[in-house]
Structures are given as structure tokens and as C-alpha cells.
């Protein structure tokens, strides 16, 4: 054919151009990911299977020592301490995420009912606190919840806490801190889901004999599910690995897995154990994500709703 002589060179030139484009656009990101995610991840993986040295640093030979210790087998036989930490992390994550949903859902709905010009401002109000450093905000809560503060005195007066104990430090304070911290991550995806919803559908549901409650449950809620599940992922995963809030507000009473890991590295206590803890967190997170996907698929009628 006439064009065979021309086409290959034109095509190969186009391919070269495309490859160069790819190199310039993708390469920086890929390099970044390799240096800051893949390599450290592999290193962490390796460390987890090494032996704890005298200063808490990893040494050869390879062993499963850290995973045994993580499971609770120590010098003094088995103790449930680490297991409790894991369970507490899961529980704390579940409770906080649940509360975030309960608080964020009405907020997101309320914002969609506001006039259009007010909505960005309302969303901004939700988001602005997270522009401040997390540590600073958490210190703020410490000041608000410490013994002798009005809030603590009120709780004392109502007999909710023992005298002079204060609301902080406690696992309640940790939950509160987590809910406060992660609220925007739930409000935003829920708001997006609500905004897409056609209000005529709510009316259609009522017109078709659904009471207001059933109209919500059958017509509104399923449509906000993608936003809800996305919000749960955005909240639950970082909450599960949270370090700052339990450290500052828990006062040793609300230690979570993140704190366990951090102590192993920070105090120079036991790097391999810390690495093993980090891997456990990763695995738990992946299991959680997988479960969410399944739930999302089932509830979303086979449609991809998460991630």
C-alpha cells in the first residue's frame, strides 16, 4: 500500500513523543513514590523480621520474635496487653467513626438545604479548623477538658465522673478528639452525595405512600451511601492509626496501636516490634477496606461505590 513507507516512521515518532511525555509527567511521581513509600515500606518489612538488638535497633538474624511479642508472648509468658491495645484501637475507631457519622449526616444535610450562596461559607466553616495544626487543636481540648474547667466541673456536678478527675485524660477525651478531628472528612463526601440528590425524589417517595421516615430510608439514605462509605474510609483509616490524639488526650489510658508503634521507635525501645506493629496496622486496614468494598458493592446494587 502507498502509505506503508510513511506510516511506521510517523507512528514511531509519535510513540517516541508519547514516551517522552510519559517520562516527564509520570516519572517525578513514580520516583517520589519509590523513594518515600516503596523503599521505606520494604525496609520496614525487613526490619519487622529482624532481631531486636541491645539499643532497640534491628540486627540479624531474621526471626519471628517481634510478631510473637506483638501477639503477647514476652519474657514473663503471655500477656494480653498488646491484644487489648489492638482491640481498643478497633473499638475506638468504630465508636469514633459511628459518632462522626451521626454528627456529620445532619450537618451535611443541613448545608444542602441552605441557600446556594451560603453553602460554600458553611463548608468553609466545617473545614477551617483542620487548617490549624492538629497538635495545637488537641492542646486546645486538653485545656477545655482538664480538671477544674467548666466542662469538667459540670460533668462532676452531674456525677458523670469522679471528683477532681477531669474529663481529660480519659478515653472519652480521645473519642471526642477523634470525632472533632475527623468531622470534615465525613461532612464533605456526604455533602457531595446530598447535593446530587434530586429533592423531587423525596416528594415522589412521599407521593408513593412513604411516610417521612420511610421516604428517608428508602429514597434518600441509599443514595447517600457512596458518600457515607467514602467518608467512613476517610475517617476510619486515619483514626485507626491515630497517634497524636490518644497520646495527648488519653494520658496512657487510651493507648492505641499507633502509640504502641510510636513508642517502639521513639524511645529506642524495639524497632522490629514497632515495624511488626506497623505491618499489623496495614493488614487490618486492608481487611477493613476490603470489607467496605464488599458492603459497598452489595448495598450499591453491584455498583462500585468505594474508591
Amino acid at each position: 500500500m502507498a502509505y506503508t513507507g510513511v506510516m511506521p516512521s510517523a507512528r514511531s515518532r509519535a510513540m517516541v513523543r508519547e514516551a517522552r511525555h510519559l517520562l516527564f509527567t509520570v516519572a517525578p511521581g513514580a520516583v517520589w513514590i519509590v523513594i518515600f513509600l516503596v523503599l521505606p515500606g520494604a525496609y520496614l518489612m525487613g526490619v519487622a523480621f529482624m532481631t531486636n538488638g541491645p539499643y532497640g535497633l534491628p540486627e540479624m538474624p531474621l526471626s519471628l520474635e517481634s510478631f510473637k511479642r506483638l501477639a503477647g508472648f514476652g519474657f514473663l509468658g503471655w500477656s494480653p496487653g498488646n491484644l487489648y491495645t489492638l482491640l481498643r484501637s478497633l473499638w475506638q475507631t468504630a465508636v469514633s467513626t459511628g459518632l462522626v457519622v451521626l454528627v456529620a449526616y445532619p450537618i451535611a444535610y443541613y448545608i444542602t438545604t441552605c441557600r446556594e450562596k451560603w453553602r460554600p461559607i458553611m463548608l468553609l466553616l466545617v473545614v477551617v479548623p483542620s487548617w490549624t495544626n492538629q497538635v495545637i487543636r488537641t492542646f486546645g481540648w486538653m485545656n477545655l477538658l482538664a480538671p477544674g474547667t467548666p466542662l469538667s466541673s459540670m460533668a462532676e456536678g452531674l456525677g458523670l465522673i469522679a471528683p477532681n478527675m477531669g474529663l481529660y485524660p480519659s478515653s472519652f477525651a480521645v473519642t471526642l478528639g477523634l470525632v472533632y478531628n475527623f468531622l470534615p472528612f465525613m461532612v464533605l463526601p456526604l455533602y457531595a452525595a446530598f447535593e446530587k440528590l434530586d429533592t423531587a425524589q423525596v416528594e415522589a417517595a412521599q407521593d408513593l405512600f412513604a411516610s417521612p421516615v420511610r421516604a428517608f430510608w428508602h429514597a434518600v439514605f441509599p443514595q447517600t451511601l457512596p458518600g457515607l462509605l467514602a467518608g467512613i474510609v476517610l475517617v476510619a483509616i486515619p483514626a485507626f492509626g491515630m497517634y497524636v490524639i490518644p497520646e495527648l488526650l488519653g494520658g496512657g489510658k487510651g493507648m492505641m496501636l499507633g502509640n504502641l508503634v510510636a513508642t517502639q521507635f521513639a524511645g529506642g525501645a524495639n524497632w522490629p516490634l514497632g515495624a511488626a506493629g506497623a505491618i499489623l496496622m496495614l493488614i487490618a486496614t486492608f481487611i477493613g477496606l476490603f470489607a467496605m468494598r464488599r458492603i459497598g458493592k452489595r448495598l450499591g446494587g453491584g455498583e462500585e461505590v468505594v474508591i
Partner: protein
């Protein structure tokens, strides 16, 4: 009170023989609607309804016609229970339902946007109302199949809503309301989102469905052509007030006032400047009418006019010049200059001579076809 109706409907429906729901509807008692002094305002300034008294007969195809903002949709929403009237009473089938919430009214609506549920399949959409009324799954299934066949979309029930075309969505929205066998079906501009061809096809379909079921339909539209094609009776609304209620011919041929006349598409309105018995003086000249009437405006419908070539003397003969001609195949539309004013005429194309632009002609009109009305 209304709950007992609903309960009866549930009890009765599964035991009905298949097909009874849609076939044997003639035996079914259609319901009349009575409205008394309905008022509605939004905020302080906007008056949506300003005292509406209206009775819609059982089994009637009734149309609320008017420009946007005239209150027709508000009235429909009050019938559905989605909007609460500030004042006035509403009864359907003799029962006062002014205070009854929408989910307890045996009234269903076809929404302008269709408002199909995107997270449900077509089947689940169709079954929604039945499910909410507590009908068992098997009975629901049978009824949905039946209604899907009735609207000739039986093969679509397992699709997702976003896989449907506009016309299919429209029909599903209609079926979703019909399957509930309401006393009254409300339709809020259900055809306005469709293109012209599909629209006229669905107009006919909708009309046939209504005649077959004998159900009371209340239809909202701003399109006077659509209203005339479909309706048994039309109510023309403006500014929250009913301007005229009547059969299409009456509303078109004898509009109650200038607003109705203009809204029905009439342009030939001329102030009456003098009258002697049944002879009226207007800017066009002197014209004889069959009945002079009291109105201060003379309405001349374009299709009642005839054009004779050249100048012909006679009563109700007006000399004119053709200014514009729009040839439309079946007919031609003329703009004529009569004295200092213009006049629209429509001539059927019966193969006769159609005057050209610039021709001198004589316009004739029968006295019977002239109507006066007030501003």
C-alpha cells in the same frame, strides 16, 4: 379516615383477578375533586394562588393551563399534599383531605423531572408505591409485570433507570403512578422534556390510557395546543386566579377575557371604538356581529377569515394588502394590512389560489364568527 381506604386497597388488590387493575377500570369508581377558596403565598410578596374554587368531575381529563408562575403547579402540589394551602378546603371523592399528608392520599403524581429513583431498578421503581402500602412481594411482582405490559415496556423492567431513554422514563414514571390505582392521577408537565415527535405520540398514548382507565387525570401544562388536544376541560390560570374553565372549544373560541384569548394564541384583538346595535367600529372598520355583546375588545380568529382576490364591496368586506405569507403546506398564514392596522389570517390550502405578498385582497368574515370580550 384515609387510612381505611388504603387498607381496603391493599386487602382488595391481591385478590383481584389478573388484568382487573387495568382492564376492568370502567367499573371502578373515579373520584371528583372539589376545591374551595384555596389560597397560597410564598414569603410575603409572592401570591401563588388567590382564591381558587374549582370542581373537577370524576373520570375527567382536566388541564390546568397557564404561563409559568401562574400557580398551576402550586395547585397540583396542593392536590398531591406536597404543598399546604394557607386557606381553603380540598376534598377528593367527597372526603376532606385538606390536612391529610401526601403518603396517606390516594393520589399519585407523574413529576416533571420524572423523579425516578436512580438507585433502584425499573421493577423496584414500579413496585415502590405498592411496597410502601405493604403489598406482599409476590402480588407486587405480578402487578408490576401487568402494568409494564400495559405500557408496552415489559422487557425493560430489569434495567437500571439510567439505561432508559427520555420517552421510556416518562412511561415508567406514568406506570409507577398508575400501578397504585389512585383515585386521582396528577401530571406535572410530564411531556415538556421530550422532543416534538415523541411528545405528540405520548399525548395520544396518555389520552388513550386515561379513557381506558376512566381515572380522573389532572394535567398541568403551559402549552395550549397540548391542553386542547388532551383535555375534557381546561382551567386557564393567571396570577393565581382562574380566568376561565371550560371545554377546549369554548376556551379557544369564546375566551372569557383578553388574557385567555392571547394565551390561547389569538393576536387579532381590536378595541371597539363605537357600536350601533350589532355593528361595531374598530380600527379595521365597521363590522356586523351576530351578537354584539358587552365586551370592549373584538376577537377575530384567523381561521374564520377568507380572502377574495381584488376589491369586492359588501358587508364585513375589508380591503387589505398582503404584507407577509408563511406557506405551511396544509395552510398558509397571512399578515395583512387593513387601513392603519394589521390582521392575521389563516387559509386552508384546498388547491385554490393563495394570494401573494403585495396582492390587493378583500377580507371577509361571517358575523357569527366575531366575538367580543372584555379586557
Amino acid at each position: 379516615m384515609n387510612e381505611t381506604i388504603t387498607a381496603d386497597a391493599i386487602a382488595a388488590s391481591p385478590s383481584r383477578p389478573a388484568g382487573a387493575a387495568v382492564e376492568g377500570e370502567a367499573s371502578r369508581q373515579a373520584s371528583a375533586i372539589e376545591m374551595q377558596g384555596l389560597h397560597k403565598r410564598f414569603g410575603r410578596a409572592t401570591v401563588a394562588l388567590d382564591g381558587v374554587d374549582l370542581t373537577i368531575e370524576a373520570g375527567e381529563f382536566f388541564t390546568l393551563l397557564g404561563p409559568s408562575g401562574c400557580g398551576k403547579t402550586t395547585l397540583l402540589r396542593i392536590l398531591a399534599g406536597l404543598e399546604e394551602a394557607d386557606d381553603g378546603r380540598l376534598a377528593i371523592g367527597g372526603k376532606d383531605i385538606t390536612e391529610v399528608p401526601p403518603h396517606r392520599r390516594s393520589v399519585n403524581t407523574v413529576f416533571q423531572s420524572y423523579a425516578l429513583f436512580p438507585h433502584l431498578s425499573v421493577r423496584e421503581n414500579l413496585a415502590f408505591g405498592l411496597k410502601m402500602r405493604g403489598m406482599a412481594a409476590a402480588a407486587r411482582h405480578a402487578k408490576v409485570d401487568e402494568i409494564a405490559d400495559f405500557i408496552k415496556l415489559g422487557d425493560l423492567v430489569d434495567r437500571r433507570v439510567d439505561q432508559l431513554s427520555g420517552g421510556q422514563r416518562q412511561r415508567i414514571a406514568l406506570a409507577r403512578a398508575l400501578v397504585c390505582e389512585p383515585d386521582v392521577l396528577l401530571l406535572d408537565e410530564p411531556l415538556s422534556a421530550l422532543d416534538a415527535g415523541l411528545r405528540s405520540q405520548l399525548q395520544v398514548e396518555l389520552l388513550r390510557v386515561q379513557k381506558r382507565l376512566g381515572m380522573t387525570f389532572v394535567f398541568v401544562t403551559h402549552d395550549q395546543q397540548e391542553a386542547m388536544v388532551m383535555s375534557d376541560r381546561i382551567a386557564v390560570l393567571n396570577g393565581g386566579v382562574i380566568q376561565q374553565v371550560g371545554p377546549p372549544r369554548e376556551v379557544y373560541e369564546h375566551p372569557a377575557n383578553a388574557f385567555v384569548a392571547r394565551f390561547m394564541g389569538h393576536d387579532n384583538l381590536y378595541p371597539v371604538t363605537g357600536r350601533q346595535g350589532s355593528r361595531l367600529t374598530t380600527a379595521l372598520g365597521e363590522l356586523s356581529t351576530a351578537e354584539a355583546g358587552e365586551g370592549e375588545l373584538l376577537l377575530i380568529r384567523p381561521e374564520t377569515l377568507d380572502l377574495l382576490p381584488g376589491e369586492v364591496e359588501g358587508d364585513n368586506h375589508l380591503p387589505a394588502v398582503v404584507v407577509e405569507r408563511l406557506y405551511r403546506g396544509s395552510h398558509a398564514e397571512y399578515r395583512l394590512e387593513v387601513g392603519d392596522t394589521t390582521l392575521q389570517a389563516t387559509l386552508n390550502n384546498r388547491g385554490r389560489h393563495l394570494p401573494e405578498v403585495g396582492d390587493r385582497v378583500t377580507v371577509t368574515v361571517a358575523p357569527d364568527d366575531l366575538v367580543t370580550l372584555s379586557e
